[in-house]
Symmetry: C2
């Protein structure tokens, strides 16, 4: 607890992805409601940057809602999928069936 | 972007709450998978603290899954509900029906 902003002894969430009906409508609402930056947007998903987290908006059927973490040993869970931005991750499920994405810290 | 850790020009997420089948099972899995702190736990929900966000685990029917933000004008959306820890918040819905909780910044 030596750092009041980020406790480096704890892992970080990378982003959270929630389902929305319409990307354009959702981006309009979230950017009107909150101070956030749109860092990506197409018809199937968008990424909003907040102070402490990225919030992804996804359309059901195109991308699953999920929570994404940085995990020191992401490779342990299988082959990581490379993304266009250079990051690498893998999806697993928690015991309740929630989609959990694990990012390799060296790709962030 | 003057601060590499927290961009104060952007709003923050306060926590994210996801549905799980069983709190004890979920807490065991998340604490085994990640470096996080259990700051609250009973049979209907638990709160896990990560470096940049709190993750709530909730049982469907007891608490809705939701995403919670700090909003400078939370009071504008109605009467805030006081919580036992002194925080005050209100639930609204986004256009897709997702539950969104707004916390008054002066109660955080």
């Amino acid at each position: 607890m030596s750092n009041p902003v980020i406790d480096v002894a704890l892992d970080s969430l990378h982003h959270v992805a929630i389902s929305v009906k319409d990307i354009r409508q959702a981006v309009a609402w979230y950017t009107r409601m909150f101070r956030c930056k749109v860092t990506y947007q197409d018809d199937s998903w968008a990424m909003l940057e907040f102070a402490n987290l990225k919030l992804a908006l996804v359309v059901p059927g195109q991308h699953p809602p999920h929570i994404a973490f940085v995990h020191a040993e992401a490779e342990r869970f299988g082959n990581l999928h490379p993304h266009r931005d250079g990051t690498r991750s893998i999806y697993i499920s928690d015991p309740s069936g929630n989609a959990v994405e694990l990012f390799s810290p060296d790709s962030i």
